[in-house]
């Protein structure tokens, strides 16, 4: 390339910018830290529980060199805990990325899939299938039955995302008050429908329903897990790829267009991917709140606003957070289990209050 002449002054500026970028990128050790945290969370998630299995043994089982005497342990790790941990990682990652993407799309730091009603909309779709369509679905082959639930949750999430976006979007900005009020409305409708569903459901359905309201990973089994996991993987990878678009959108939609983004098309893809991730997550584990709010915020405090760093770091931290919360949920009230949503809400509620206090002045205007 370099036929271009750079004058010394420009060279000096380049060096200063490079130093500055380097200073920020040295925070990449934090990326390594986050990866280590995710690895530690996975190990802990596989090791701790009603049956404690030492870390070393967990790694031995994972690498396939366990002794025959550990067959029960191997079964616990591979068949019970591994699917749960992988699902937790993906749900955490897709919730965190959906939160970051929603905040970028709405250009508002308080948007969270739970708060603005996307998760409730998805839960509504899922509950509709469990209670009102289960008899009808019974006539269909197994694979159709298994994909119906995540698809319905995706549909509910998509409809809600479109609704709140249309409602809160005025001109070139999004009204946070309208956004949160729309979230309250959607949450109320979802609460009413789910309450009604609880009222009319039989015992089996009641057990299925309980975790929609609180969110839990206890229902996870290998059976039928593949479709929602694939949906979440698509959402995570897709949202990560849109990091550049989210950077452009931070200047506003028209300016993102002037920067060469096909804004209308990209926004549709963004909304689809958010609904896909949240919907699939809700289908598997119910509505788990606040992950999409807490994780991107923590990441931005440390790494800045560039979505090319925010997105992968949020995915890892979100996954780690959810696996940790799930492990705690399995341990605190042995032999029973606490719904994971209680733990994330217990952390997330105060966190949200703290954000409100910090942003009080902007919100009041």
């Amino acid at each position: 390339m370099s036929t271009m002449a750079i004058d010394p002054a420009t060279e000096g500026t380049i060096n200063r910018i490079a130093v500055e970028i380097g200073r920020r990128q040295r925070r990449r050790w934090l990326a390594i830290l986050v990866m280590a945290a995710a690895a530690a969370a996975v190990t802990a998630g596989l090791s701790l529980g009603a049956v404690g299995i030492p870390f070393v043994e967990v790694w031995a089982i994972l690498s396939g060199v366990h002794a025959p005497a550990d067959a029960v342990h191997a079964m616990v790790v591979m068949d019970l805990r591994l699917p749960r941990v992988i699902t937790g990682l993906l749900i955490g990652a897709s919730l965190a990325l959906s939160g970051a993407a929603l905040q970028g799309l709405m250009r508002n730091p308080l948007a969270d899939p739970g708060l603005v009603g996307v998760a409730s909309g998805a839960a509504l779709g899922a509950v509709a299938v469990i209670v009102f369509a289960s008899a009808w679905l019974a006539g269909w082959p197994g694979p159709v039955q298994r994909i119906a639930l995540p698809l319905a949750a995706f549909g509910g999430g998509l409809a809600t995302t479109l609704l709140i976006y249309r409602l809160a979007h005025r001109g070139s900005h999004t009204d946070i008050a309208l956004l949160l009020l729309a979230g309250i409305a959607v949450n109320a409708v979802a609460g009413a429908v789910i309450g009604f569903a609880v009222f009319v459901s039989n015992d089996q359905q009641l057990r299925d329903l309980q975790f929609w309201m609180l969110g839990s990973l206890s229902g996870i089994s290998r059976d039928g897990l593949l479709p929602p996991l694939a949906m979440m993987a698509v959402s995570v990878l897709g949202l990560w790829r849109l990091a550049g678009l989210l950077n452009g959108l931070s200047l506003g939609e028209r300016d993102a267009h002037y920067l060469g983004f096909d804004t209308e098309r990209s926004k549709r893809i963004l909304v689809l991917l958010i609904a896909l991730g949240v919907g699939a997550g809700v289908a598997v584990a119910g509505a788990i709140g606040f992950v999409g709010l807490i994780v991107p915020h923590l990441v931005r405090v440390v790494l800045g606003t560039d979505h090319r760093f925010v997105m992968p770091a949020s995915a890892l931290l979100g996954g780690a957070l959810l696996v940790c919360a799930d492990t705690v949920a399995r341990l605190v009230v042995l032999p029973a289990e606490l719904p994971i949503g209680i733990i994330t809400s217990a952390i997330g509620g105060p966190f949200f209050l703290m954000l409100l206090i910090r942003h009080r002045r902007e919100l009041a205007s």
């Binding site: 390339m1 036929t3 271009m4 002449a5 750079i6 002054a9 420009t10 500026t13 380049i14 200063r16 910018i17 490079a18 500055e20 970028i21 200073r23 920020r24 250009r107 550049g244 950077n247 452009g248 931070s250 200047l251 506003g252 028209r254 300016d255 267009h257 002037y258 920067l259 060469g260 983004f261 096909d262 804004t263 931005r300 800045g304 606003t305 560039d306």
Partner: protein, 278 residues
């Protein structure tokens, strides 16, 4: 290179924001767009830049309608700075400027983009602000950061400033007089280096001293277009703005210079304009 609007109209409800406007912008030429508030200046700029599609008429860049361009292809040939453009507070200034290189992210090398970002920051005198977050900058500093971003967006690949088209909507707003002239000089320099530049301005004398051509817009139509001494006449300004000006010749450049007339009759004229507008 030319951008050519042919008989474009923009209609919102019953109002014609633009009414049959034809205008062409050429590379190497600086055009100033002036006119009263609500004349349709920003709408015309948005149409010429492809941010808005006119309800009637077409806008062509080198013979192709703007709709035929992929957004990123268009973005490599023109850059736009609107009024009140947002910038997230935590964004670092050089990250803001680097956003201008987004349309090249698949084709350019990192080092090359970095040197263009640095060159654009130098051109707009913001290099001392490297590492500062946007929320810590003053309005003028942020405005110059945005200007550096748009300059970087149409920077030639071989390292020189000045290619493509630059659209700036009131770029001197929120700048002190020194930086107003600095920005106008840089815009002039970009035009001399080969860019086509369209500036929306309110100050007649800014327009007279920097523009090759002035376009006077009123109520969605072009009232006059041509070299400064033909457009900035006391009669046209009185007709469009309803204010009385005195025209003198700049002692150094020979440019027409407009000064407000001594107070008196002008006041009643102003009231007249407001009532006729409603």
């Amino acid at each position: 290179m030319t951008i050519e609007a042919l008989d474009i109209s923009v209609i919102r409800g019953r109002t014609r924001l633009l009414d049959g406007v034809s205008l062409s912008l050429r590379a190497g030429e600086l055009t100033a767009l002036i006119g009263p508030n609500g004349a349709g200046k920003s709408t015309l700029m948005a149409c010429l830049a492809g941010g808005m599609t006119p309800d009637r008429g077409t806008v062509r860049l080198d013979g192709r309608t703007l709709a035929e361009f992929e957004p990123d292809e268009l973005a490599r040939r023109r850059a736009v700075l609107g009024q009140n453009t947002a910038a997230p507070g935590a964004l670092i200034l050089e990250e803001l400027v680097a956003l201008g290189r987004m349309p090249y992210r698949r084709s350019s090398l990192r080092r090359q983009n970095l040197s263009i970002v640095a060159g654009a920051m130098e051109q707009m005198s913001v290099t001392h602000l490297v590492g500062r977050a946007c929320c810590t900058l003053s309005g003028g500093e942020l405005q110059r950061g945005h200007l550096a971003r748009t300059a970087a967006q149409i920077w030639k690949d071989d390292g020189g400033a000045g290619a493509g088209f630059l659209f700036l909507d009131e770029p001197t707003a929120s700048l002190d007089p020194a930086f107003q002239w600095h920005v106008l000089r840089e815009a002039r320099k970009l035009a001399d280096q080969g860019s086509g530049v369209l500036l929306i301005l309110h100050d007649f004398n800014h327009a007279a001293l920097t523009a090759d051509r002035i376009v006077l817009l009123n109520r969605g139509s072009i009232v006059a277009a041509g070299p400064p001494d033909q457009v900035l006449t006391v009669e046209l300004i009185a007709q469009v703005y309803g204010i009385e000006m005195v025209r003198i010749t700049h002692p150094q450049t020979g440019c027409p210079t407009l000064l407000p007339a001594a107070p008196g009759p002008g006041q009643t004229k102003m009231r007249h304009r407001e009532t006729s507008h409603a």
